[in-house]
C-alpha cells in the first residue's frame, strides 16, 4: 500500500477519485466501450446514487471503482493512494481493508451461519482475535436486527434478512467506502425500505461513503447526491432540493 503513488495536490481530499476512466467489454467486433472518460470525486461520509438506464455502465463503473474490474485506461485514487495499475494482490488487499460490497444478490455462503458469514472479511483481515471477531459480528447482526438469528444458516433466512446480513458483512471491516449494486433489486417494497434505511443510517453513524447503483427513484432521493449516467458518462450532477 505505502509504495503506491499519492494523488497530487488535492486539498478537499475526496475518499475516492477517478479521472478519464475508460472500460471496454467484449472481444473483436463485439468490443463495446462501456465507460467513456468518467471523472468522479466522492467525499467522506456522503451517500451517492448512480442512476440511469440499463446498460449505461453503472455497474461496470461500480466494479471498476471497487477494484473488482480492471480499467482499460484512466486513474483511480482511494484515500489519496493511486490504485489504478496496482497488481491483483494489492487490489484485493485494498478491497479487504477499504471497501465493502453489497450486491443485488446477497451471495451469502449457504454452508455458514449468519455470524460466520459476517466474520469472513474479518478472518481475512486477521487483525482481531476469534472472540473479538465473534463479538463484532454479533453486534453488527444486532444492529441490522438479526441478533437472535446469528446461528442460523444463511439459507434459513428470508430474502430481506439475507440482504441485511450481507450489509452487516460489508461493514465488517469498517470500510471507508461501501459500494452497493442494486441492493434492493430482489426485495419487496417493505424490505427495500428497511435495507436502504439501514445502509444509510449505519454509514452516517460511521462516517462512511456510500455509492449506490439503483433504478429506484425513492432510494436515489434518499441519497445526498444523485449521479445520472447515460451511455458511459455522467449526464450531470444534481443536488436534491
Amino acid at each position: 500500500m505505502s509504495e503506491l503513488p499519492q494523488s497530487p495536490g488535492f486539498t478537499s481530499r475526496p475518499i475516492l477519485r477517478c479521472r478519464n476512466l475508460e472500460r471496454y467489454l467484449g472481444e473483436g467486433e463485439n468490443r463495446v466501450q462501456i465507460l467513456r472518460k468518467v471523472d468522479l470525486d466522492l467525499d467522506r461520509g456522503k451517500i451517492y446514487a448512480i442512476t440511469g438506464p440499463s446498460g449505461c455502465g453503472k455497474s461496470t463503473l461500480l466494479y471498476t471503482l471497487g477494484l473488482l474490474d480492471r480499467e482499460d485506461s484512466g486513474e483511480i485514487w482511494i484515500k489519496d493512494l493511486k490504485v489504478s495499475g496496482a497488481d491483483d494482490h494489492e487490489r484485493t488487499e485494498i478491497r479487504n481493508r477499504t471497501i465493502g460490497f453489497v450486491f443485488q444478490f446477497h451471495f451469502l455462503l449457504p454452508e455458514f451461519t449468519a455470524l460466520e458469514n459476517i466474520m469472513l472479511p474479518m478472518i481475512k483481515l486477521g487483525q482481531m482475535s476469534s472472540g473479538a471477531m465473534q463479538s463484532r459480528a454479533h453486534n453488527l447482526l444486532e444492529e441490522v436486527g438479526l441478533g437472535e438469528k446469528s446461528k442460523r444458516l444463511a439459507n434459513q433466512l428470508s430474502g430481506g434478512e439475507q440482504q441485511r446480513v450481507a450489509i452487516a458483512r460489508a461493514l465488517a471491516n469498517q470500510p471507508d467506502i461501501i459500494l452497493a449494486d442494486e441492493p434492493t433489486g430482489n426485495l419487496d417494497q417493505k424490505n427495500s425500505t428497511i435495507v436502504i434505511d439501514l445502509l444509510c443510517r449505519m454509514a452516517r453513524e460511521k462516517d462512511q461513503t456510500i455509492l449506490v447503483v439503483t433504478h429506484n427513484h425513492a432510494i436515489a432521493e434518499a441519497c445526498d447526491q444523485t449521479l445520472p449516467m447515460l451511455d458511459g458518462v455522467f449526464a450531470s450532477a444534481c443536488e436534491p432540493a
Binding site: 466494479y63 473488482l68 494482490h89 484485493t92 479487504n96 460490497f101 458483512r169
Partner: protein, 397 residues
C-alpha cells in the same frame, strides 16, 4: 466426493496388501535360499593363463614378460582350512562350512533313488544354514552322535518309504555304506529336497574317496545385501570363484521384482481413477461455486486463498482416505497372513507369507497424495483464476 474417498481407501489398502504379500513371499524365498545354500559359495580355484616372452641374455641375467590372457577354474577347494581362515577375517562373515559333495544312490527294499551327498560338519553347517529349522521329524542331536547317521529329505523318505532310525544303503561307485536315518528335513525347495542328503564330513570323505579338500565352502553373512561386494573382495583375496546368492538366484529374484512392480502399478490405477474422480468432483464444485468464489474475492480473499480452499479439500479427502486405507490394509494383511495355502517348490509354507513394512504404508500414502493433490491442483487453479467482476456481472439482473 464419497466415491473418491472410497477409491483412495481401497487403492491404498490394496496397495499395502499386494506389497505385503509379494514382498513377503520374496523375503521368504530369500530366507529359504540363504537357509539352504548360504549367502556365498566358494568353489573352484582361479588359475591365470599366461603367455610369456623371455629373453635369455647372459650379461644382464635375462628377463621375462608375461601377458595375462584370461583365467580358468580348476578343481575344488584344495586347502579349505586356509581359505576358510582367510574368509573368516572378513568383518561381515558370520560362519563358514566346508562341504564335500558327490553323487550316489540310496537303496532300500529294492527301491533306488539318486542322491546328492552333502558331507558336513554339523555345527559349522548350522552356522551357515537353517538346517535346524528345517527338521520336520527326529532330532539333530541323534545325527550328531551317530557316525553313520543321515539327514534325509521328506521327499526322499516318502519315496523310499523309510522312517526314523531305519537303515538305508548308500551306494557310490560300486561301494555300499549302511546309514541310519537320524532326522528328516524339508526345505520346500523341490530341486534340493528331491536329491540332497546330509552325512558327516568324515563319512562323506570315506564314501566318496575324497580324503582332502572340499567341494565348496558355504558362507553366511551378517549383512546379506553386501554379498556382491564381499564376493568380489574374496575372489581377490582367495583366488577362488565366489558366487553370491543374488547372482545364483537372479532369475527368481527378477520374477519377484516384476511381480511386485506390476502389482503396485495395477493397484495404483485404482488411486489414479480416484484422482480423476476427485478432479471431476472439484471441477464441478468450482463451476457450481463461482458466485461464492466471486464474493470471497470481492471481500478480499486472494487468488491463493481460493486455490487453498480446493487444495485443502483434496488434502482432507486424501488424508482421510489414506488413514482409512492404512487401517483397511492393516486388517486385510492380518487376515491374509492367516489364510491357509500350501506351497512347495521354491519354498515351503502352509499359509500366505506377508511382510510388515512401514515403507508400504508410506509409499501408498505418497502415491495417493501425489495423484489426488495433482488432481485437485487444476480445479483449484481454475477457481483462483475466476474474475469476480465477470461472475457478478453475469448474475446481475
Amino acid at each position: 466426493m464419497l466415491m473418491s474417498l472410497a477409491g483412495i481407501t481401497f487403492g491404498v489398502a490394496f496397495f499395502i496388501v499386494t506389497q505385503a504379500q509379494t514382498s513377503g513371499f520374496e523375503g521368504f524365498f530369500v530366507k529359504t535360499i540363504l537357509g539352504t545354500n548360504g549367502a556365498l559359495r566358494v568353489r573352484e580355484r582361479i588359475q591365470d593363463t599366461l603367455r610369456s616372452m623371455s629373453v635369455d641374455d647372459q650379461e644382464s641375467g635375462g628377463f621375462q614378460i608375461s601377458h595375462k590372457e584370461g583365467k580358468r577354474y580348476v578343481g575344488d577347494v584344495a586347502q579349505p582350512e586356509l581359505v576358510a581362515d582367510a574368509i573368516r577375517q572378513f568383518g561381515n562373515v558370520s560362519g563358514v562350512s566346508k562341504v564335500v559333495t558327490g553323487n550316489g544312490q540310496l537303496v532300500l527294499r529294492g527301491q533306488t533313488r539318486p542322491a546328492q551327498i552333502y558331507g558336513i560338519v554339523l555345527d559349522d553347517h548350522l552356522g551357515v544354514s537353517d538346517l535346524d529349522e528345517q527338521i520336520v521329524f527326529g532330532e539333530l542331536s541323534d545325527f550328531r552322535k551317530t557316525a553313520n547317521g543321515v539327514l534325509l529329505s521328506r521327499y526322499l523318505a516318502d519315496r523310499l518309504d523309510v522312517g526314523l532310525d531305519e537303515k538305508i544303503v548308500l551306494k557310490v561307485a560300486g561301494k555300499s555304506r549302511k546309514l541310519t536315518v537320524s532326522a528328516i528335513y524339508e526345505t520346500g525347495v523341490r530341486d534340493i529336497d528331491k536329491v540332497r542328503m546330509f552325512i558327516h564330513l568324515r563319512t562323506a570323505r570315506s564314501v566318496l574317496g575324497k580324503a582332502f579338500g572340499a567341494s565348496f565352502l558355504q558362507v553366511s553373512l551378517f549383512d546379506n545385501n553386501r554379498a556382491p561386494q564381499d564376493a568380489r573382495r574374496m575372489i581377490d583375496v582367495t583366488q577362488h570363484h565366489v558366487s553370491e546368492w543374488q547372482r545364483r538366484e537372479k532369475v527368481w529374484l527378477d520374477v519377484f521384482k516384476i511381480l511386485r512392480i506390476s502389482s503396485a502399478l495395477t493397484v495404483s490405477v485404482i488411486i489414479l481413477i480416484s484422482g480423476l474422480g476427485m478432479f471431476s468432483v472439484l471441477a464441478i464444485i468450482v463451476m457450481e461455486k463461482t458466485k461464492e468464489i466471486a464474493i470471497l474475492r470481492s471481500m478480499g480473499f486472494q487468488r491463493r486463498d481460493i486455490s487453498h480452499i480446493f487444495l485443502w479439500q483434496g488434502f482432507v479427502i486424501t488424508t482421510a482416505g489414506t488413514l482409512s486405507g492404512w487401517m483397511l490394509g492393516f486388517f486385510m494383511t492380518l487376515g491374509l497372513a492367516n489364510l491357509p495355502i500350501r506351497i512347495r517348490g521354491i519354498f515351503s509354507t502352509d499359509h500366505f507369507v506377508v511382510n510388515w513394512s512401514i515403507s508400504h504404508y508410506l509409499v501408498a500414502a505418497l502415491i495417493a497424495f501425489v495423484v489426488v493433490m495433482l488432481a485437485s491442483y487444476f480445479p483449484a487453479r481454475r477457481a483462483a483464476r475466476l474474475e469476480p467482476a465477470d461472475v457478478i456481472r453475469g448474475t446481475s439482473g
